[in-house]
Every structure is written in C-alpha cells, then in structure tokens.
C-alpha cells in the first residue's frame, strides 16, 4: 500500500471504498471519508504549495477552515475551481488537484531563490515602496508580481454548473454542530420551534469526531451520531451539513453556503452545485468553536510543522499519522493529548517541549506515565530543514518565556506538532459590528457585547472542556427558545493545568536577524515585518494590518492574528487588551461568485418586460432596445436594409403617410378624487383647474430644486378623474413621488392614485393618413378636425373594442393614440395594420420616434435633461404657470441665485455646418476650437440624428447662455481629431408653426 502514513485500523474512513485521485499530475489513493488533505498526508505528500511572497515550500498546517497553505487548484477545463483548501475538499474517485503556484514545479521553484536572495529586501510595504514609481510602470510590475504570487486560475469558459439561492426563516439558527451546537439544537428543537443547524463539514460532531472522551458514558463520536439522528427526526429542525455560515448581518440575518454536489464530482449531474441560504432568524446561537494557534519561531513554516490538534484529528478521524518522529511544542495541556495520540498510533514521540516550568495537569501525568520524554521550561526556537523539517532546535526559557536561559540542543524529527493555545472563532460575531474583547485567563479574544439576538456556546467563549461546551450548548438552546433546562452532561473531564500565554519564542538572534518567524502563513507576514511596521510608526493595529497584509484575504487571520497582535503589543510595550484587535469581515471562508449570482443570470439577470404586442414585434423582425426593463422595438429592418435606411423609410412614412408605434410602455397613473385637480396643480408646473373633460394637457414635473424630473400628457376623463402618463422608465418613480407628497404633506387632499401602466395597450399612429386609418375602424366618434381637436380625448369603439382615443402627437404630425385593455392589445394592433395597409402603414420603433420628436425639438426627460435642467433652461417657460396660488413643487427654486443665472446652460438646436454630418451624442461644445487644452467647455450634445425629411443632420445640446447665442457657430472636437462645426438655432427644425399636428 502506497499510503505510507495510513493506519491499518481506526478512523472514520471507509476502507471498503478506495478512491484514486491525482495531485500535480501524480496518481494517489485514498478512501471515502478522506479530505484531500488527509489523503495527501496519508500518501506522504509534504509540499502542497509555495508561499505568496517568498515562494517558500509549504505543507499542510491544519485540518479545516484555518488552513493557510494548502490552497488547491481543482478540476480541469471549464469546471476548474481555484483556491479551495485541501482540508475542506472531500475526496472523490477521480479528483484532479494541483497546487495553485510554483514554477516550474512546487518541488523545485525558481521563485524561491528570488525569495531567498531578495528576502531581506522585501520588507512590508515593499510593493508600495518599490513599484509605485514611475507610476506608469505599475501595470508592468503588476503583471510580473501576479504571475509570481500564484493565485489559482479560473477557466475563461462559462461555468457548466448552476447555483441557486433560497430564503429561510427560523426561530433559532445554530451555527456549528460540534458538542455545543448539537446540544443547543437539541434543546431548542425540543421546544417545537423552527430550528436550523448548519455545519461546514460533511458530518456533524466537530471535535467529537476526533475525540477519545465519552459523553454520559457513550463514545464521543457515537454520541454525536445519535444526537444528529435525533435532530434529523425532528420535523421542526432543518439539519444542514456541508453548509458554511459565512456572514452574519444586521438584525439576525445569516448567509450560508451549502455545497450540494462538490463532494460528488467536478460538475453537478443533478441540480445546483451550491446553494446560498439567506436565513432570517429570531435567535442566533454561535457555536463556532476555536482554532488552535501555531507558535512563532524560526522557520516555523517548514512542511512537517503542524497544529497539534490537527495531528490528533488526522490520527483519530482519518487514520493518518503525518510523521514518524514527532516533537510536540506546547504551551498548554492539549499538546500532551497529541503526544499520546501519536504514541498510540505507534509512532515515536521524540519529546514534548513545554514552555511551562511546572505543568501538572491530568494529561501531563498520563504522558509521563506513558514514558514520553517531557522537556519543561523549553521552547523550539528554530526548525531545521529545507523541504521538510528534519530537526528542532530546543533551548531553555525563563518563566515568562521571554529569554533563553541556556544552550540549545537539536532534536531530530520529521514532524513538529505545535500547540500554542486557542483562538475562539469570533469571526461571525464581528460581522455585525461587535468588537471582540481580550480575555486574559484564556489568552484569547472572545465575542464582545452585541445588539443582535445572539447567544454563544462552547469554545467560542473559551469553554474548552467538553462537558463545559455541551452544557453551555444546553443553556444557549434553552435561552434561545425561552425555557429553562437543568440537563448536565458528564464527560469525565479532569483538571487541566494553566496555559501559558506565549506567542513568539525567542531566538538567539534578534527578531530582525533570526531565520524567518512566520505569523501569517498565507500572506507571508513575519514577526520581523510586524516589528518593523511598529518601528516605522504604524501603531494602530488597523494600520499594522494594512501595512503588512496580516489577516488579509481568504485567510482572515484565523491562525495568525493573535500572534501578530501580541508581537505588536510587545513591541509597543502595551498589553494585547490595549492594542486591541482588527475585526473580521464576511466571508468567513470564500464564497463562489456563482452562488452569489444564483439564478439571476442570463435571461433572468434582469426582468424583461413585454407589451401585449410583443409577439407581433418579434414575428416582424424588430430589433429591440432596453428602456428601463422594457423591451421596446428599436427599429423594424426589412431585408437588406442598413439601420439608417430603415430609419429613413420609417420616418418618411410618418411624414408622408402613416406610421405606427407601440407606446404601451409609457407609465400610466389613474387619478381619482375631488381634489385631483388641486393635486395636479401642485405637482405640475402648469395649471389644471380649468382643463375640461375630454381635454389633454402636457405637464412638466419638477423636483423641489426646480429641475425637470419627468414629463407627460395628462387627460381629463371626467371632472374628478384623470389619466396621467409618464416616461417609460419613470413610471414607478413618479407614482412613488405622488404618493410621497400625498401621504406626507397633503393627506387632506381627497385623491387616489392607481398604476394602470399594464392595463392599457397603446397604439400610437401618426402621419397625414392616420385619421383615415382610424375612421375605417371607429364609427361612433366624430374624428373630424373640427370635432376632435389636437389634445382632445374621446371614448369610443375601435374595431369593436371599447377604447380610449387621444389626439396627441410626439412627432409633429396628425396623430392618434388608441388605448384598449391589454388583453385585446395584440388584436387591436393587427386590426390597425390591416386598416392601414392601403396607406402603407409602417411600424416604427424608438429610434425613429427619437428622430421625429427631435425634428420637432421635443425633449426626452432623461436624455436632453439630466436632473440639472429647469424648464427655462429647456426653453419651456411656456409650460410654467405664473398665476397659480399654490407654490407648486420647484417653483420657489426658480428664484434661487444659481437657478436664475443668465449664463446657465440652455437647450438649443444645433445645425451642423456640413449638412452630411451627424455630430456624435455626448460631444463637448466649445466656442474656440483652437484654444489650447483644456478648452472652455460650453456644453454638450444631448440628441443628434440624421433627418431624412430635412436632408441634413440635426442636433440638440446644452450651451452656456445658448438663447443669446442664436446664429453663432460652435465646435465639437472629436477624439479622432475632427472638429465638427454647428450653428446654434431653434430646436424646432420641422414645421415650426405646428401646422401639421393641428390639421
């Protein structure tokens, strides 16, 4: 068997299910139940990657989310996944994995030599200091640095997997299914309330799965299985393994990522690969446990140096011993458990090196009794080796652990298990803004006060004993559902000796000259780097973090932060409580963008709104334009036409005969009540008191600052009943605006607003023959010029359907709008097409509509205005009443000094001097094209088109003091060097007297 480190018995792997997998091109074997990390260790693979900055060989340090080194590249082709931790990847048969970096290979990495040679020259802030000048070279530097730093690689092909999201609601969510989480969920679940329990691992139990204690007399792992089964049986409890709660947001909102098929293969064959759960909980119980800390000493990053608890976990849960001769370096009793585990697995414990001078806990006694050599009052000052640890240099320490007190000796070993104390996993509690507080007795940060409905249980509070955790879980679960529980678990825990708060083990050389002593493995931050940052004046812990990159990125300081803060505190002669901690941000561990996107991709990215006539437009070859969420026909090309040829044909049809436009997307608001007129008086610039039933009026709506916000035609259907139209994109905003004023300032006005945008399908047909078309279909309304005037409204029957008929025009031609209930809109459109056939009725889209309205100088709110244009700026003073008694919205602002300035930008017409030119929209306008750059910007072009009926280009634009510059020539310099000249003119290019639409 090639799995040199695999034990013959024990563990929670299934030896009847062997699996093969590859790592960096070589094939290895493991078992069902393995993680990629345990399988690599079983096969004796030491180097799994190269470090970020110095390109040093790195091995597996931990066994879970804390792992800083073993970032993998998984799968191939479009299924490639960059950067998952090997410790969190469940093994499956055929898994293809590799290192994310290392060139030409992780075993022989050229960059390491750059790191070694340049190491002294790469202090923190190196990139800021070195590569910032000259600034234009940064792009070149960055390319090189990125390649060297070696992140995992994404496939550029579309992801073959799907991802989705789901909303969940519960009374209690329990995060973490270790001992505390399990008892909390059981207690909460018994109340019958809705409970969700999530855990990032495939199997519930947490530390119980690798623990050789008992719970109420039952083997710990077996007890975990029983508890999980009990939870699964409760119909009110949702049990979610393989689910990481990665973010804890305001008002008890938790986001969790469920990995549904990652453990089955590179691509999901059934349903979504990952699911994002958005969970709103009344109560949150954090039972997230604690992470063991490494110790900081020389070359402490060598492969073969691991967290002691992780070594125990590999032995007990995965039946893998990751070395033959082990030195255990500890500051507390838990390292002794690892020594006992190694011995029980049949490997050699060279020595337990304990920084404490007189440890005497239960486990210490057991180790002594087992004949394990114990070196008290000692520390490992430096590890030896190049690609794998081969020895540990051990020296005596004083009581405080600050100073070496005697000569060193070297212990030969191939594994150093490090137990530097524990750091509660406070990450989630930090996400809502709670700052962790330092707790001296456990030498760790615990969650600080929180305003959330939050409960804590287990190791997250520093309760590291198993019985403590189980009992704290009971109490948290009971408290979360408002009951009391007296259940107490017995695990036979005995007294533990006090731990020593030690972080950096001294070396014979000062920190700045000692071999590299790593603090943050993932970001290659060393003790020397942190000291240097402090000496350079970075005294705030937040600044030190940003200067050194400690705790950045996907690592989020899980193993390194506390050690780094202790070093900062010591350098500054402060306590850790005084220097404090940085806080942690979501995500706890990385989340795929796929899961964040969910199903809101492709056609579901943004809703496409369709009118009743949409199928006709599709069938007739329309090209579509997005207007807000609406899909509007842009133009209707015929075979062989260019877009401009289409527009020319469509526009000429309107000018010469008749064209038809789907105007259903215009916002429509039904207004009823005896104060409707008064309300319109207040929100529009013009007067509505005298508008008679059957009449329509154009209105401008302003914000209180006097700037145009929306516009449209409102019809008086009856004395107390109006129909307002808004721009297609502005409908919801206008309705909200009306409701805002009604609900907050003028609730006494008796008026109601109802959106009817979707109720009515609107066929707008324009051109000299438009009346003839309508007359064929409508016989109960006198449509003659005398009887139905411009801006009149009638109810009538069109093609047998009860319709609302408006004679309004946005083209300058005789024009009608027929509104019918949308159920019959498609039918009405087809009837109008049939009726208009003899006149060559031509469907046209938004682009031709823009040309036609621009020929008439009609504005489009939002295109020709941008929230900084008053009616006067748009030469629309005619639409502003000066006689209304109520100071309508925006009126007062007209006299503000800035609004009243004479040199404001005003909207004018622009006629290109070269008639064949169409000036690009957005072009800047200057008076003197020969002025040196920067030129004085006078304004810009807002609308510009080719006018086929006029035979030249036309444009509108804003120009400072434009009204007083009629006839002057302005210039539009282009990026390609051309300068396009135009003459300022009236924006009404076509039919300035308005004869056509009054016909």
């Amino acid at each position: 068997m090639s799995q040199v480190n695999r034990l013959a018995t024990g563990g929670r792997i299934d030896r009847s299910k062997p699996m093969s997998f590859s790592f960096n091109g070589k094939t290895y074997h493991g078992f069902d139940g393995d993680t990629l990390a345990s399988a690599l260790l079983a096969n004796g693979v030491g180097i799994v990657g190269r470090s970020f900055k110095y390109s040093r060989a790195r091995g597996i340090l931990g066994h879970g989310a804390e792992e800083p080194n073993a970032l993998m590249q998984l799968h191939t082709g479009n299924a490639a996944v960059p950067n998952p931790r090997a410790t969190q990847v469940e093994l499956f048969d055929g898994l293809v994995s590799g290192s994310t970096n290392g060139w030409p290979s992780v075993e022989f990495d050229l960059m390491e030599w750059v790191g070694k040679m340049g190491g002294k020259m790469m202090p923190p802030g190196f990139y800021y200091k070195t590569f910032m000048a000259p600034q234009k070279m940064w792009m070149t530097y960055e390319k090189f640095i990125r390649k060297a730093a070696g992140f995992g690689k994404l496939s550029l092909a579309p992801d073959p997997d799907t991802y989705d999201k789901i909303n969940a609601h519960c009374d209690v969510i329990v995060v973490g299914a270790g001992p505390a989480g399990l008892t909390a969920a059981l207690e909460a679940g018994r109340s019958g309330k809705r409970v969700i329990i999530v855990d990032e691992q495939n199997e519930f139990g947490g530390t119980l799965l690798a623990n050789n204690q008992t719970v109420d007399g039952v083997d710990a792992a077996q007890w975990a299985q029983q508890a999980t089964a009990q939870l699964t049986d409760m119909s009110n409890v949702v049990v979610m393994p393989r689910t990481t709660a990665f973010g804890y947001y305001d008002h008890n909102f938790v986001c969790a990522l469920e990995r549904r098929t990652d453990h089955l293969g590179p691509v999901s064959t059934s349903g979504s690969r990952q699911r994002l759960h958005r969970i709103r909980a009344h109560q949150v119980i954090l039972a997230t446990g604690a992470i063991e800390r490494p110790l900081v000493f020389g070359n402490n990053d060598l492969p073969g140096i691991m967290l002691a608890n992780s070594v125990s976990t590999y032995i007990n849960r995965y039946a893998v011993v990751p070395g033959n001769r082990c030195v255990v370096m500890t500051t507390n009793d838990s390292g002794y458990q690892t020594a006992l585990d190694i011995q029980a697995a049949g490997r050699t414990v060279v020595a337990v090196v304990d920084s404490r001078h007189a440890p005497d806990g239960r486990l210490v006694q057991q180790a002594k009794a087992a004949g394990i050599e114990i070196m008290t009052g000692h520390g490992v000052t430096e590890a030896q080796g190049s690609k794998r640890v081969v020895g540990a240099i051990v020296a005596p320490l004083d009581e405080a652990g600050d100073t070496l007190t005697g000569p060193a000796k070297t212990l030969s070993c191939d594994l150093i298990a490090v137990a530097g104390g524990w750091s509660p996993v406070v990450h989630l509690s930090c996400h809502t803004g709670s700052r962790p507080v330092w707790q001296e007795d456990i030498a760790g940060f615990v969650p600080g006060p929180s305003i959330q409905n939050q409960h804590l249980a287990g190791a997250i509070t520093g309760d590291y004993k198993l019985s403590q955790a189980l009992n704290a879980g009971v109490q948290a679960g009971a408290a979360a559902v408002g009951v009391e529980s007296a259940h107490v678990f017995d695990c036979g825990d005995e007294s533990e000796g006090a731990a020593q708060a030690l972080y950096l083990i001294p070396h014979t050389k000062p920190v700045s000259r000692a071999p590299k002593q790593f603090v943050d493995f993932q970001n290659d931050v060393t003790a020397a780097g942190i000291e240097l940052a402090a000496r350079e004046g970075f005294q705030s812990i937040e600044h030190v973090k940003r200067y050194t990159a400690m705790g950045f990125g996907t690592d989020q300081g899980k193993t390194g932060n506390v050690n780094g803060m202790a070093i900062v505190a010591k350098t500054l002669n402060k306590s850790i409580a005084e220097t404090g901690t940085t806080i942690f941000r979501p995500a706890y561990t990385p989340v795929t963008f796929g899961a964040l996107g969910g199903r809101d991709v492709g056609v579901l990215l943004d809703p496409a709104r369709h009118t009743a006539m949409h199928p006709w437009h599709v069938a007739n070859g329309a090209k579509f334009e997005n207007v807000g969420q609406w899909k509007r026909p842009w133009y209707f090309p015929q075979q062989g036409e260019t877009m401009q040829q289409t527009l020319n044909r469509e526009c000429l049809a309107v000018r010469n005969s008749v064209g038809i436009l789907d105007a259903s997307t215009l916002g429509k608001i039904d207004i009823q009540g005896k104060d409707a007129r008064e309300f319109l008086n207040r929100v529009y610039t013009n007067a509505w008191s005298k508008l008679a039933p059957g009449k329509c009026r154009y209105g401008l709506m302003l914000k209180e600052d006097g700037m145009i916000f929306d516009d449209g035609v409102t019809a008086c259907l009856s004395d107390q009943h109006f129909l307002m139209t808004t721009t297609s994109g502005g409908a919801a905003a206008v309705l909200g605006w009306l409701e805002l004023w009604h609900q907050t300032e003028w609730p006494e006005l008796e008026v109601y607003f109802t959106s009817v945008t979707d109720q009515w399908a609107t066929c707008s047909f324009a051109g000299p023959n438009s009346r003839k078309v309508l007359e064929k279909l409508c016989t109960d309304v006198d449509l003659s010029a005398e009887a139905m005037k411009f801006m009149d409204y009638r109810e009538g029957t069109v093609a047998g359907i009860k319709a609302r008929i408006f004679r309004i025009s946005f083209t300058g031609e005789l024009s009608f709008e027929v509104n019918v209930p949308a159920d019959q809109g498609h039918y009405m459109w087809q009837k109008l097409m049939e009726a208009g056939e003899e006149f060559g009725i031509t469907p046209y889209g938004t682009e031709s509509m823009h040309v036609l309205r621009a020929e008439k100088g009609f504005i489009i709110a939002g295109q020709d205005t941008d929230g900084s244009m008053t009616p006067q700026d748009c030469l629309m003073g005619w639409a502003v009443s000066k006689t209304k008694s109520f100071s309508f919205l925006g009126e007062r602002s007209f006299s503000r000094p800035d609004t009243a300035r004479a040199d404001r930008k005003q909207l004018v017409g622009l006629k290109p001097i070269d008639p064949t030119v169409v000036i690009p929209e957005g072009s800047q306008i200057v008076m003197d094209p020969n002025q040196p750059i920067p030129m004085d910007m006078m304004g810009h072009v807002t609308s510009s088109y080719w006018s086929e009926c006029l035979g030249h280009g036309i444009a509108m634009g804003t120009v400072k003091g434009g009204c007083d510059r009629m006839g002057q020539t302005v210039y539009c310099p282009q990026a390609d060097g051309r300068v396009l000249a135009a003459q300022i003119c009236s924006p009404v290019f076509y039919d300035p007297k308005g004869d056509h639409h009054h016909d």
């Binding site: 958005r278 305003i451 600052d705 909200g736 409701e739 907050t744 609730p747 009126e891 007062r892 006299s895």
Partner: protein
C-alpha cells in the same frame, strides 16, 4: 439586511421590500415665496446626518406602498421603533440620553 416592522402591514418584513427615502419630519415651508433663499436652501439641501439616533422615512415599495417613519441608530443599525406618517417618535436621542443613567447599556 434590515428587518423592518411596517406599521401598516403590522408585520416585520425584509429590507428588499422597502426603500429608504431620507430624513423624516422635514416639513415643506407653508409659504415658500415668503422665506429667504437661505431658509429655502436649508429645506432643500441640509439634513442632520447624525451618528446615532435618526428619524427617517421608509417606503414599503413592494408591500403596501405606504411611507412611514423609522427611529434607527445609524451606527448600530438598531431599529428602536417605527411609526405611521403624521405621528411623532416616542424614542429620541434626548429620551435615550435621559434614560441612560438608570437603564442598562444593552
């Protein structure tokens, strides 16, 4: 993600249903023409932007389409109360200051 009690729907709903619409209790001057440019500009542009207790309007856009008021701590995002349009808050920065010496810090 806020979880906000709508005083009209009488339920706590998700933030996605709402939109924030600015500071509450900004009254439109009764006679805009009679006030100075400065006073008008103050009404138009100046808002209190406190760190701590803030009274603000929210719009239940995807729900009942009512505007209502929220007393919210802009630092902690804690919502102290919501109340209907036209009503006054019962919890203010001043009332919390007064309560603080006797009350607990939670």
């Amino acid at each position: 993600m806020h979880h906000i009690y709508c005083p009209y729907c009488e339920e706590t709903r998700e933030e996605e249903e709402y939109s924030y619409t600015g500071e509450a209790h900004i009254e439109r001057p009764k006679d805009p023409a009679a006030i100075s440019d400065e006073a008008w500009a103050d009404y138009l542009f100046f808002r209190s932007n406190p760190r701590g207790i803030h009274h603000e309007m929210w719009y239940h856009a995807a729900g009942c389409r009512r505007y209502f008021n929220v007393t919210r701590n802009t630092q902690s995002y804690q919502i102290h109360e919501t109340y209907k349009m036209g009503e006054l808050p019962t919890i203010t920065a001043a009332s919390l200051d007064q309560a603080a010496p006797q009350g607990d810090a939670s």
